[in-house]
Point group: C2
Amino acid sequence: MIQLDYKDRRPLYEQVTERFQELILNGVLQPDEKIPSVRSMAMELSVTPNTIQRAYSELEKSGYIYTVTGRGNFVSSSTALHALHRENILSSLKTAVTKAKSSGISREDVLETVELIYGGVTYDTN
Amino acid sequence: MIQLDYKDRRPLYEQVTERFQELILNGVLQPDEKIPSVRSMAMELSVTPNTIQRAYSELEKSGYIYTVTGRGNFVSSSTALHALHRENILSSLKTAVTKAKSSGISREDVLETVELIYGGVTYDTN
DNA sequence: TAAGTGTATCAAGTCAGTTAATACACTTAA
DNA sequence: TTAAGTGTATTAACTGACTTGATACACTTA
């Protein structure tokens, strides 16, 4: 379910947080579904419970999960979460496109990149 | 010329490195132009010479500058540098677009974002 | 020769991240 | 009621990256 990358410069708790965000946003984890307990997750990843605890705290703080003491952590049923995520994605995209423009990359080259990924018509560059 | 941001999580040497890359790629610093010495830069930023030394080492390793012992550090005249930079920018763009697609954002919304920045026609969404 | 340059080294301190151990309150099921 | 599993909190300790501060040496230029 989760894979830690020790070559990654980022802290472990941050990797766990991000991975769960993906699983939740992609619907792999359904609303109100229980996620692994702090201790079991720590065992599975060969990591201290503290590290998982921190990841879960972040997830709760940002609204991805909610916590019930004694029972466990559960996926939030927030629809606003998806709207928020959409805005974040578009914001990153804007940043990338802006950098491209300021680097002198043409509009056509940017559009080609978009079409390349969305499986549209690609322009022959031979 | 350079501004350090202590709220930034990244190390100081990395901020210096990145800033010089920008100045070089944007042509603010011309090829073969001398950049500030390790010591003077350290003074200006109220930082240890070691930190600047490290930043300059990174810049030399990645080809942005070249060093002449006893004389100083100078901006590389590499044209390949711009090609490399272009590839990096496009790579970031691909990542952003891919995330957008996998998040269910439509091609039209992505294109709209591109046009928004490139000053093209925007689609009426009312 | 003196001043400015890059380079190298070392010891020390700071800080974030992580580990390890322990404890406590709560919920659930036997 | 009891035992097991849950979240939560605390403390001490370790590690590694980053940074500082000091010093030293070789080179170039005026």
